[in-house]
């Protein structure tokens, strides 16, 4: 911690003595260092290439292989449990007649939610011109894709006969039957598959120029071939960048409402039903806020580890951690508000069933789960009012895990408390998962880490092209907007100010 602070001071001093240096501050001599630099260590554009490509070019360390092996073993256990489930049937799970959704749907909602931070960082923060996103957007987007894959594992196996999952799609068949578009479960099929496809295209589009950087540096034949194929022959042509930037903006514009729609539609799975505790209009915004909350926590968990292992301290700085913690605090408060509002409405509606469900939620059989959720999601983020704690790496790491535990319990609480005491007291029941469900869930973390480690090792973990474009001095001088704060205009075409004067002055 102390070392980083010193580093920043050193950078600031260098910035004053050498105005033209790429130090993160605006280069006008009168300017004061009001903002922390986004990238530390006075990097040149070439150094950024060296640093980021270096991660992919270095020989994998034994630590990496050990981590990969461990992740794969955990994933393997999960896959084994999945195979067992598919072979025997979902009777091996702890579900019963009353509680038909348990850990399966809890985990589905949990993983879909995790993905939301990636899209939020890549799309929403892009539209809001938050330059700091460039250090973390690539890995957050990757995380989105891996999280949605994990979500799909649950939602595709909980159908019971996953080999018939194509029945979820509208296709002409011998029974002349079509899917039921009146069901929110069918909306979910469209929402999650669209989300996955668009996230993948967005991620890949972002990767292409960076893969070209790796291609031009690759030494080994296999690496060269791989990077060549996937970089599509990108050359950095301005005639291509021109279209590319616009496509990037359209993707951001598409993903922004998309990310809000996905968890809204997931929440419809509950809200469109008639069960007390589920049938509420607050669900869509409440689910979306929770998704962003848990997603940012997961980004932090992963990025703090990657920052240490891959030595990305100059790129993922305390400023990034601070900013993400602020988002966690804000969304945590929204989630807390939603919890309170649910209780208020249960009382205010005068509906005895609603009232019962909520009193039961806080004091009944699953009260332990409810209070776990409250502690982790509502009380613990309050520590982030302190700037000191927001910038404490270890504290942040710990809290990010606590938040994700809390968000898992939120979904579990919602699902199990409403189901286990429904309208018919004679059907009331309790649910505990079996080892199979637990193994599958733990296994998805292994799968997630396996994907993430492979990504971090072989692909540019930081968006090279984007981070270069926001370096001070990287853009023609008429485009220096740093004086107005952080709303940079990188990757935005059609934003041309006639630069004749600027150019004249420069030459």
């Amino acid at each position: 911690m102390a070392m980083e602070a010193k580093e920043q001071v050193a950078t600031a001093t260098a910035g004053h003595t050498n105005g033209a240096a790429l130090n993160g501050y605006h280069d006008s001599p009168s300017a004061k260092p009001v903002r922390e630099p986004l990238v530390l260590g006075n990097k040149t554009i070439h150094q950024i290439t060296e640093d980021i490509c270096g991660v992919a070019e270095q020989k994998a360390t034994p630590k990496f292989w050990a981590a990969l092996l461990a992740s794969m073993l955990v994933a393997g256990a999960g896959i084994g449990a999945l195979a067992y489930t598919i072979a025997v049937g979902i009777g091996v799970w702890g579900l019963n007649n009353t509680i038909g959704w348990g850990w399966d749907i809890t985990n589905f909602v949990f993983w879909v939610g995790i993905g939301h931070a990636g899209t939020l960082i890549s799309a929403v923060l892009f539209l809001f011109r938050q330059k700091w996103r460039t250090a973390i957007n690539r890995s957050a987007e990757a995380m989105t894709i891996f999280a949605v894959i994990n979500a799909a594992v649950f939602v595709l196996t909980h159908t019971g006969r996953p080999w018939l999952d194509y029945w979820l799609l509208p296709y002409p068949n011998q029974m002349k039957m079509w899917v039921n578009f009146r069901s929110p479960l069918e909306w979910d099929v469209f929402a999650v598959s669209t989300y996955f496809t668009i996230s993948l295209l967005f991620w890949f589009t972002g990767l292409v120029p960076d893969l070209a950087s790796l291609r031009n540096r690759a030494k080994s034949k296999i690496a060269k071939a791989g990077y060549t194929i996937f970089s599509l022959g990108w050359t950095g042509s301005t005639r291509s960048w021109h279209h590319y930037e616009f496509a990037y903006m359209i993707f951001a514009g598409l993903s922004t409402p998309l990310v809000l729609s996905v968890h809204s539609i997931v929440s419809f799975d509950f809200a469109v039903s008639i069960l007390p505790g589920w049938h509420t209009t607050i669900f869509p915004p409440y689910f979306v806020a929770g998704a962003i909350f848990s997603g940012f926590a997961m980004v932090l968990t992963l990025m703090l580890v990657a920052r240490e292992i891959l030595d990305l301290h100059d790129y993922i700085t305390l400023k990034h951690i601070d900013n993400m913690n602020k988002i966690i605090l804000a969304t945590g408060m929204i989630v807390g508000y939603a919890y309170a509002m649910e209780f208020f409405i249960a009382w205010y509606s005068g509906n005895p069933y609603e009232r019962f469900v909520f009193i039961n939620r806080a004091t009944g059989d699953y009260a332990w789960s409810y209070w776990m959720m409250m502690t982790c999601n509502v009380f613990s983020p309050q520590f982030f009012w302190s700037a000191k704690l927001r910038r404490n790496v270890w504290f942040t790491f710990g809290l990010s895990i606590v938040v994700n535990i809390g968000m898992w319990f939120e979904r579990f609480t919602i699902i199990s408390t409403s189901l286990h005491h429904g309208y018919l007291p004679s059907s009331w029941h309790y649910y505990t998962p079996t080892w199979v469900e637990i193994t599958i869930f733990v296994g998805t973390f292994g799968l997630f880490m396996t994907f993430f480690l492979l990504f971090a090792k072989y692909l540019p973990i930081i968006a090279l092209g984007e981070i270069k474009s926001i370096m001070p001095g990287a853009q023609p001088s008429h485009h220096h907007h740093d004086d107005h704060g952080e709303h940079g205009d990188y990757y935005q075409s059609g934003h041309y100010v006639d630069n004749e004067d600027a150019v004249k002055k420069h030459n």
């Binding site: 042509s237 005639r239 960048w241 279209h243 001088s477």
Partner: protein, 187 residues
Amino acid sequence: MSTLAQGNVIAVMGDFKDPNKVTAAAKGIHEAGFTKFDIHTPYPVHGLEKAMGMPKTSLPKFALAGALFGLASAFALQWWTGAYEYKLNIGGKPLFAPQFGTPVFFELTVLCTGLTVFFTMFGYLCRLPNWHSKYQYDAGFQAATDDNFCVVLEADDPRFTTETAQALLAKLGAADVRVVHEAIEQD
């Protein structure tokens, strides 16, 4: 291992490091009347495409077409399957209504727009994938994915002669102005 022999002149290239100078150079080349030229940069330099005299991208038109197609197909799919082809009464709900159709309207609109933008941008507007570039053996050209702004004046431009191109780039302040020959692979 194949070796490379030199063929005809295919381009004159020059390098820049300063975004202001390369923008001025783009303007200069455009004003000199060149049309077949390109500037390869490691990241998008703002205003460069305008300085080069490029028209606005036609991508939004394709995106709109994709969006309308997606919306229309979502409407057709839900109406045709539910209210026309196989009418199934489920809880007395209407066979088709825009209220329940909205999520799928939205998702298919986004999906079709995204796919259209992706394939149009790479496949049609950027002409990719194209795994071989005739310039790829030039070190300065390769460095354009690192930190170099590489200006390429193509030989098939009507105004191109090796001398005029070299003189123009030198006048605009390019470093390492060089004549690039076609590379012919020999066994």
